[in-house]
């Protein structure tokens, strides 16, 4: 039973991706992938309950024990993130179906669904894998799917952006592979559970070099500041649902990997100053970049970079409260960022432009869209009743308890960044949703060419209305989820705290992975 629960999130989307390649009719494929993701969501929720009540669970694929075979491990952290991620992918899939990006051209639809399901496979495998090499494979699966998605039906500009994205990701992947080779040469294993003690035996210099290489590799994938340039350049060019799912998941998977590897492989007892500096730089550079943007999607991408810094905040502190804050922040940010990008897509669909200055000259969208944007926007800024507040409060509390220069600097930067986020969001709000010009559409500006797939004004048909309703529903579900994250902050925080305990004390994790005499 446990075996089934742990393997299903990886196997089911993979199998279904194969089935969708068989050339079934579009409607069947849409129903099939929605059903599969729903099943995986139920499975992930069950896994979360199981790991929270009984501790970490593991599966040795094919019956081979840990150091030789492939191990899948689920603990509270991975099950929690898996649940949230699959929920987001499901909502975005519904949005994509509604938008009809996928079905605009038959060839695109044929590629979209398999690639999307492979992306889910990769994300699930990354959360569940128990060794470094399979983490690399998981990243490759999800990145390969993302290369296809980002260049789907691409025009000139998107090909350029996709090229940048692909090359940067490939470079980081090869560096990751180099790291795997070096780690294996140094320790003779790639199983995460075994690596901690073995790496501790290595000389300090070698250990430090490996830790830095790991930080650089995952730093590229997570868009941590000196290595973030590719993200705001490539994400906004993709179609809206794809941008939403990338923004919600891909960087967060890398942050998860960072969290997992740092706690298991390179545990430390004090504040990690290097990561604290990087976190501060990430928060500030990201949000200042966002303030300079005029394009709504680019602005949101820069806030995404900025808020990766918050997740590093807790990891840099390296204590229970800090890690709890990080876990809560990842959960909150996955949901909120997806909701924001989806709401932005609804806005862009209405105004047919992504430029904020031009939006100010158009008539504002419906109040419902404004509300759907406002809730995650306020949540991102950390305004009290919403989910961001809970996560930020935990982080700030951790910073205050820890004390010391680095912790206080982190806390101060986090506060400034939250304020600036609020400013950036209010800029979007005033331009997009407030009517400034009494004569909207006075200037006969031609519609932009770039966001054509999203915004081309077609005659309103019944299927269009149905699609629009589906998109609004998917966005509303994400927004409601973000509200639910705030409402159930208490239980969630307790799960997060238990997950953080588990991270800092990985004995239970090790004991389920390594069963033989090699412990």
């Amino acid at each position: 039973m446990t075996t089934l629960l742990i393997t299903l999130p990886v196997v089911l989307p993979l199998l279904c991706a194969g089935v969708t390649l068989l050339g079934l009719p579009g409607r069947v494929i849409r129903v099939l992938s929605t059903l599969v993701l729903t099943a995986v969501l139920a499975d992930a929720a069950a896994l979360l309950v199981l790991t929270d009540t009984r501790g970490p669970q593991s599966v040795h694929v094919g019956g081979w024990p840990a150091p030789l075979g492939i191990t899948l491990v689920a603990d509270r952290l991975s099950a929690l993130l898996l649940t949230v991620s699959v929920l987001v992918t499901l909502a975005v899939l519904v949005f994509a179906i509604g938008q009809g990006t996928a079905e605009k051209r038959r060839s695109a639809a044929e590629v979209f669904h398999p690639a999307y399901l492979l992306l889910v496979t990769g994300v699930s495998l990354a959360f569940l894998t128990g060794d470094l090499f399979n983490l690399f494979v998981a990243f490759e699966i999800l990145l390969a799917a993302s290369y296809v998605l980002i260049t789907l039906d691409a025009d000139g500009d998107r090909t350029r952006a996709g090229m940048t994205y692909t090359i940067i990701s490939l470079t980081s992947s090869l560096l990751f592979l180099t790291l795997v080779g070096l780690v294996y040469a140094a320790t003779g294993t790639v199983t995460l559970a075994q690596l901690g003690p073995r790496l501790a035996e290595l000389p300090d210099g070698l250990r430090g070099a490996l830790a830095l290489l790991l930080l650089a590799v995952l730093g590229i994938k997570a868009a941590i500041v000196p290595l973030h340039f590719w993200l705001p350049d490539s994400y906004p060019t993709a179609p809206a649902p794809i941008t939403a799912v990338f923004a919600a998941l891909l960087t967060k998977v890398a942050v998860y990997a960072l969290l997992r590897t740092q706690t298991l492989l390179f545990p430390r007892s004090s504040v990690w100053t290097l990561l604290a500096c990087v976190a501060i730089a990430t928060m500030l550079v990201g949000i200042l970049g966002a303030l300079a943007q005029d394009d709504i999607n680019r602005l949101l991408s820069f806030t995404l970079v900025s808020h990766i810094g918050f997740m590093l905040f807790g990891l840099a502190l390296f204590d229970t409260t800090g890690l709890t804050g990080t876990v809560l922040y990842i959960v909150h940010h996955i949901v909120v960022q997806a909701a924001l990008f989806l709401a932005a897509a609804l806005t862009v669909r209405h105004t047919s432009t992504t430029g904020l200055d031009r939006m100010a000259r158009r008539s504002p969208p419906r109040p419902l869209v404004a509300v759907l944007f406002a809730v995650p926007a306020l949540s991102l800024a950390g305004i009290p009743p919403f989910s961001g507040f809970v996560a930020k409060l935990t982080l700030l509390r951790a910073g205050a308890w820890q004390g010391g220069t680095a912790a206080y600097a982190l806390a101060a930067t986090a506060l400034i960044t939250s304020l600036l986020t609020l400013y950036a969001m209010s800029r979007v709000w005033t331009r997009a949703f407030m009517r400034q010009d009494p004569h909207p559409d006075r200037s006969d500006t031609p519609p932009l060419k770039k966001p054509a797939p999203d915004t081309a004004r077609r005659p309103e048909r019944r299927t269009d209305r149905y699609g629009a309703r589906l998109m609004t529903t998917a966005t509303a579900v994400m927004v409601l989820t973000s509200v639910a994250v705030a409402v159930f902050a208490g239980p969630l925080a307790r799960v997060g705290e238990r997950a953080a305990h588990e991270l800092l004390d990985p004995r239970a994790y090790r004991s389920v992975v390594i069963t033989g005499e090699d412990r």
Binding site: L68, F133, F136, V137, E140, A144, Y147, V148, T151, A154, D155, G156, D157, T159, R160, A161, G162, M163, T164, T166, I167, L170, T171, S173, L174, L177, T178, V180, G181, L182, Y184, A185, G188, V190, D233, A292, D294, D295, R298, G355, D357, R358, T445, P446, L448, K449, K450
Partner: protein, 181 residues
Amino acid sequence: MTGAVDNTVNTLDVTMAVVVGGLFTIGFHLMLQRSLMRIVLGFILLGHGTNMLLLVAGGTPGLPPVLEGRPVDPAEPADPLPQAMALTSIIITFGLTAFLMALAYRSWRLSGSDEVRDDVEDRRIDIALQRAGADEVSGPSGAPGGPGPDDGGGPGDEDDDEGGGAPDRRDDDGTAPGDHR
């Protein structure tokens, strides 16, 4: 190394170190170029270097892969795990190389040049600089080909791929609207 630690460095180790280092150097050098084809070649070389590194990670070379007919000490045959990893990574790099080639071909067909273009931000700054330059010399033909990079659509902006017309004067809707102007 997995088995008994031997600190002797033989010729093969040194050769492999040089080869891997060389492949990495050339690979990264090529990846830093503007031409897409060179980037693809750089990626291929880098992939080879990484695969070699994985093989070297397996320990002492020259051990038999399979031993039969008697009880075998685990340290005796060659370590299969790095070979499995190298095989997997060869497959992955092969697939992605094919994808990269297809993408480069598409980019070439769409843009007509083999070069990686500047990103949106760079082009905006470039346009702003050109405008500033044009204002200073106060001539309409201020800098037709001067400060911009000489790639395909250098002075063009995101809306207009083939930057036809004068690059220094452009109406407001033609450019990426920025409030830094």
